[in-house]
Subunit: 338 residues, 2 copies
């Protein structure tokens, strides 16, 4: 009743009365095999429950069915949405996704990249543009589709899909100014490259309006969290009590800042406006609801895989730079009476 032995092409071939290579062809390029033979093979496959051995295929072709995915963090809410998109798009494909955690470190990323390279991946998904020099070169010589996600850039290795964090931050800041806030501050954790670009966008817009002040900027290299948001707001109020609105690096910080503002007795949005980044689900439900910048994270993951599949299939006719854009979602936390 229990079958121990692995079922191979040969087994199928024997049952179908053909040779192994014919079975192999019938499976990969059905059109190369006569209809009659194909039918016999198909039923033999079904009867035996044959499943191809990816290791053997890899060895024979020198190509694996692995799509490597390099992301800075497995836990971060932002990336879990991206991952969801990646898995959604890859589940029905014959490719396996393999994750590696770069921990926001270009060197860690480089060694993960090296490991992937040795497996001759079918495709690669990497986050952003801040690889080491060697890492970038590795990607270029990889000879497989490479999609950079999370942000857009001028010169992708192959294709990139994301948004301009600089412009998104500009838009958020513009929103704060349009609501009448004149002393905006910035809360930023982690301060990875994309966070820095968001800060740059904030600063550019605030400076253009003549309302930028270094004293109203609080940053930390530690990971962002709700707790961190509360702490940072406390610090900001201590060092620059005149601040009347904050643009937060991301939604965790914004939520923590909201809680802390309530504890400090600062009314939101009257005394303090709050704007987050990413528009996690919680933002719309918070009380007051929190303004944020919507980014299309699920789509980033999904299109990254779809682009790779299209590439492998011969044709990706789209552009090298796919900008998924951003959208400021104005809510109560910045709805100040003017």
């Amino acid at each position: 009743m229990s079958e121990k032995k692995r079922i191979t092409l040969d087994d199928v071939a024997r049952l179908a009365g053909v040779s192994a290579i014919t079975v192999s062809r019938a499976l990969r390029r059905p059109e190369m095999v006569s209809e009659a033979v194909r039918k016999r093979i198909d039923s033999a496959v079904a009867e035996l429950g044959y499943v191809p051995n990816p290791a053997a295929r890899h060895l024979a072709t020198g190509r694996s069915n692995v799509i490597g995915v390099l992301i800075p963090s497995v836990t971060n809410n932002v990336f879990s949405e991206v991952l969801k998109g990646i898995y959604a798009a890859s589940e029905t494909s014959p490719y396996d996704v393999q994750l590696a955690n770069t921990r926001y470190c270009a060197n860690t990323e480089e060694s993960a990249l090296r490991l992937f390279a040795s497996q001759k991946p079918a495709g690669m998904v990497v986050s952003g543009f801040d690889q080491t020099e060697a890492g970038r070169k590795l990607l270029e010589t990889l000879d497989c589709p490479v999609v950079q996600i999370m942000e857009t850039g001028e010169d992708p290795v192959d294709v990139c899909v994301g948004l301009s964090h600089f412009h998104a931050a500009e838009a958020a800041t513009r929103h704060l100014l349009a609501q009448g806030y004149r002393r905006p501050g910035f809360l930023g954790a982690r301060m990875d490259p994309r966070t820095r670009r968001r800060f740059a966008g904030f600063r550019a817009e605030a400076q253009a309006a003549g309302v930028f002040a270094e004293a109203r900027v609080v940053t930390s290299t530690e990971a962002s969290s709700v707790t961190k948001g509360a702490e940072m707001l406390r610090q900001l109020m201590a060092q620059a009590p005149e601040v009347d609105a904050i643009f937060c690096n991301n939604d965790d910080l914004a939520l923590g800042a909201l809680f802390e503002a309530q504890r400090l007795g600062l009314s939101v949005p009257e005394r303090l406006g709050i704007c987050g980044f990413n528009d996690l689900e919680v933002m719309a439900v918070a009380n007051p609801s929190l303004t944020s910048v919507r980014t299309r994270r699920f789509e980033m993951g999904r299109s990254a895989i779809e682009i790779i599949l299209a590439r492998l299939d011969g044709g990706w006719q789209g552009p090298r730079v796919v900008d998924l854009g951003h959208e400021v979602i104005a809510r109560q936390s910045t709805a100040r009476q003017r």
Copy 2:
């Protein structure tokens, strides 16, 4: 400058002046090779930048270096902590983690299992005890370490590490009663097996105290979310306005319920006590801070891998059932004046 060709054992062997098999041994069982030879081999490996080909190894041994992980959801905060533990423990090992999403569906899980089985994984991590019958059999015949995570159970396939959701829910309910709440309700989303066990624990404890009422139970088969928590509280207040405390299926619901309670003008904890489950980071920072049941999710992931590694290495001396326990973290949301 650019080397195209794959570096194999033979290349290393030639450079070190030995045969390929000796290099193979030097890499896997250094003690089987003389010191002098080992040194020559090590430097040849370094010089050439040799990386073993896992596909070839798999083909030769009939065993892959993949540890398969089956989880119900990639996005759920609860599992992302577990994943973090899994990656933390596996990163330094020679094994690759491969994730499959079961979407809370035993049949999806079964086919993922079937796929993994065909790869002869080095180990498997699965969530809970609710496999299909065929799935369970598959796991038993897999001939590799199998760790069931997220909960404890009487008869694990191999080893399990988690907690008793029933007892944890009992403890949470006991806490509500000890705080003086007498009309407790329950909010439950998804209603997967573990959620149901939590509900059972709530009901058992409430019934023992004579304070259980079906009308104060609101459930949904949809995924849990902050939004859902707000909705469900609204529904609960409509159908059972006498409710004075709620035990929520998980923290998302609890947070959403808190926001909605504020909008409805229900003071927390005086008019309504709120207790969540899992103790996500946000619970401690919320305003008021939210009572929850701490579960050791990171440790679940980490020990699952550690147990597998120990097994593969010859010895796991621990018990078949590892109970990581739970802890009720009492905070403001249930700190009613008595």
